[in-house]
Symmetry: C2
Subunit: 124 residues, 2 copies
DNA sequence: ACTTGACCTAGACAAAGTCCATTGTAGGAT
DNA sequence: ATCCTACAATGGACTTTGTCTAGGTCAAGT
């Protein structure tokens, strides 16, 4: 546990945030000015490997990092402003895929992304 | 309808393919050598706007373009080789999101990506 | 003190996509 | 037939996101 890794972990802790790698880097620099981009990327990669943090790809721009890795959840994304909320759908989406639709695949995970407009974007 | 747009449409037609923009460009160049990358991107963007083609983002690398836009479906992706199959899960995933989990959003769409191993990658 | 190895840094590099100024073209107006 | 205008296409520069590499630093063990 080095100073750099502690800073990255601190940045992700706290709110239910979904930061991009660059945002993590920017906040880390605020606490530890000499931290480099490569170190942030490396540390995020390690946290993902350890299962402490999830990668979320709700758009095709930057990956986002979700510290809420221990409770299974899906994401709800505003198509306009990009706001992201964690949500917990009912039912088991994996079970909804019939054997006939599995084409012999060993299916092990499912990601669900709900898209719509958040209250402020829908009101505007 | 120009020659360039016809060529892009032809490339996407046919099989149930999921090509990246670069693959579309490569195949378009084979038919019309002077077509430029920008034109392929523009044309793909127009086809997406018209609802004739879907953008699929199963990985964080290139977007893929799915000509099967008229029948709702989801995707099953091999985590190892990247193979993509169209699948049709049972049930209505949109309905699985309770009102209490919508946070006031107007939810209009849902994307489901199943991940696993295809038969050849699972066997190897 | 020297070696070793893990970690960090800066910057170069790569892939995917977008933007922009210029050039080309097709159809209508004169 | 020629000109005009609007739209489309082109090539290349640029941006964003992420990875890689070569070298430097530091602490622990011998």
């Amino acid at each position: 546990m080095t100073a750099q890794r502690r800073v990255v972990a601190e940045v992700l802790d706290g709110d239910h945030v979904h930061l991009t790698a660059d945002e993590v880097h920017a906040r880390a620099v605020a606490k530890l000015p000499e931290i480099s981009r490569a170190t942030v990327y490396n540390t995020l990669g390690e946290l993902v490997s350890l299962g402490e943090v999830l990668e979320v790809a709700t758009d095709r721009r930057a990956k986002r990092y979700d510290p809420n890795a221990h409770k299974p959840h899906q994401h709800l994304v505003c198509a306009q402003c990009g706001a992201i909320r964690d949500v917990h759908p009912a039912g088991n989406p994996l079970g909804d895929l019939p054997d006939a639709e599995r084409f012999g695949f060993v299916v092990s995970a499912v990601e669900v992304t709900y898209r719509g407009l958040c209250p402020s974007c829908a009101g505007a």
